[in-house]
Symmetry: C2
Subunit: 222 residues, 2 copies
């Protein structure tokens, strides 16, 4: 185990995040960071969202962050878009995507003319919130199967999010989830948070999410 | 942000874990560490498991690890057992329970004569696996809502587990989860792993889990 100094890591991360934002602006691109626990439905959401963005005429690329395997990238391969896979096990087994590693992945996508980069972070409701990835929008998913109290118990993740997705709403009945309570708990942590209910399986909420990303692209690019 | 050195942290952790095992042995106690993503059902499992252990004549205490809030401890309060709550936000916001903090919690429980300490780790499928808590049994929960591929994507958690619980089996139908595939993926990562299917909501698998913990207590104590 090499010796690392946390302060230096965070400074380096912020510098790399700044460089990423400059790079995105210079290429007229914007980037969206999707974060959540493992199994909240990030990959299926991307699989259903990306065709809608492509239909809007936007060119989409994906950066897949996982500790191990390229399984998520393989699930998206049939969409025929550029995908860069990061396996953090080759970067110390990190439990999050750090900006320097995201920069490497962006460089790997450089040959493709893209409008939007979708970043799927490592499944973890804690650590990814601590590291700025240089993204223009932070999206946090919380599935209805995870319990209404999670925004209160993992506050940083919901404080650092711009948009929260209550996912797997097709399971509300089976789980007896209290969605109004989830919303209240999210708002208690972050009064500014936008909240959308989605079911990637049933196609619910995807057009609204697409519209938000299209608008983000309009605002962040010339 | 204070400067920390990772190597030193891990050495200190291993030393504290060793001291915890000595302390448990000297008091004829054993400790079980429950780990999983947020919302895999750790707290409800404890709520249903503890009365079975109490009925077996064992004296049970709980250490609750959360970043923020004492909500899980409050959910267990009606059981009338000793509970020590750790909020890691007072220890740098750690995404896992480190052994020195667990030792502090054990000392807080010292006045109570206990046979078994159940440790509910911070909800996180990554980091808790990296830190030995001094426990005698590591249990990892994976709920059927989280996706069959998670053992492959978060291998360290399943490699460091002695026992895996496939939880929320009452949702198999609603989620169309492939339980045999979950089992195969767990075994691919850890051929030694014991696997139990449980539904805390429906009371399935709890007696088997109780029996394993009773047996652990028998083996680790005089």
């Amino acid at each position: 185990m090499e010796i690392k100094v946390v302060r230096k890591i965070l400074e380096e991360n912020d510098n790399a995040a700044l460089a990423i934002r400059r790079k995105l602006r210079s290429r007229n691109q914007c980037m969206v960071n999707f974060m959540s626990s493992p199994g909240s439905g990030k990959t299926l959401l991307l699989e259903k969202l990306i065709p809608l963005l492509l239909e809007s005429g936007l060119r989409v690329g994906v950066i897949e962050g996982d500790i191990s395997t390229a399984r998520d990238a393989m699930r998206l391969q049939h969409l025929g878009i550029p995908i860069a896979q990061i396996n953090t096990e080759f970067f110390g087994g990190d439990c999050h995507l750090a900006a320097p590693v995201v920069m490497t992945a962006l460089q790997a996508l450089e040959e493709h003319p893209l409008d939007i980069v979708l970043l799927e972070n490592v499944g973890n409701l804690v650590c990814p919130a601590e590291f700025d990835t240089g993204s223009d929008l932070n999206v946090t998913l919380l599935s209805v199967t995870e319990g209404e109290d999670k925004p209160l118990k993992y506050p940083l993740m919901f404080r650092s999010a711009d948009l929260a997705l209550i996912s797997k709403t097709d399971l509300i009945e089976a789980t007896e989830a209290d969605v109004p309570l989830i919303r209240r708990n999210m708002r208690q942590i972050n009064g500014e948070l936008k909240i959308l209910e989605v079911s990637a399986k049933k196609g619910v909420g995807l057009n609204e999410l697409k519209a938000q990303i299209v608008e983000l692209h309009r605002k962040t690019t010339v």
